[in-house]
């Protein structure tokens, strides 16, 4: 179990609503990531975004954890709810709100409360096994 995978797991478990995307909550660099965030906004959910672009390992480790091959990935209360298509579909049918209520009570409804969190350590300096150091 890698250090990074542990951190991703912790983020999934500790953040009520977390979206792993390409970009940030202010600037998504992919149409699908933007669609997922817009679906969360449509129901007025507060969320934390994690940008997978700074380190390709984030995406690898995330997909290994979630058994989901693509980005974005939206988790509610520790559970993978889906990628952009599913989250958009659930938002349209009212099921996304039902899922948020079921997992989080009423605490999720805080429109506009959005942030982006880094999942790897800030410095980015790390000795890799086998590297010359």
């Amino acid at each position: 179990m890698s250090d990074l995978r542990d951190k991703i797991q912790q983020t999934i478990e500790s953040e009520p609503v977390v979206a792993f995307i390409k970009g940030t909550h202010e600037q998504a660099y992919c149409g699908n990531s933007a669609r997922a965030l817009d679906a969360l906004r449509a129901v007025g959910a507060s969320f934390t975004a994690v940008d997978v672009l700074p380190d390709p390992h984030i995406r690898q480790e995330l997909s290994a954890l979630s058994s989901w091959p693509t980005i974005p990935q939206v988790f509610v209360g520790g559970e993978l709810v889906g990628g952009a298509d599913i989250v958009q579909e659930l938002a349209a049918t009212g099921e996304l709100e039902a899922k948020l209520n079921e997992k989080l009570g009423e605490s999720w409804r805080r429109p506009g409360e959005e942030r982006t969190q880094a999942v790897s350590e800030g410095s980015g300096f790390r000795l890799l096994p086998g590297s010359p150091g």
Binding site: P69, T70, G82, I86
Partner: protein, 84 residues
Amino acid sequence: MLGWYLRGVSEQLKQLLRVAFPGARELAVVDRTGGGDHFHVTVVDPLFDGLSLVDQHRLVYTALDEPMRDGTIHELRITTRSQT
């Protein structure tokens, strides 16, 4: 010439879906942009009955694993239902 190639990719994807979902009521592959790498696939199969959307989509990803990995599919949109 390009048209032939692009139709070929959609048809290849459809063939993979046919193999993975032999009981499907509906299978569709749409080249969303005309560029041959952004696709929207629709699968309607009673097999999905009782599965979460996440698990339904996982089955589609598994069916299209190879073209996802080798870059044939750059972007994939998925619609699944258990009945028409």
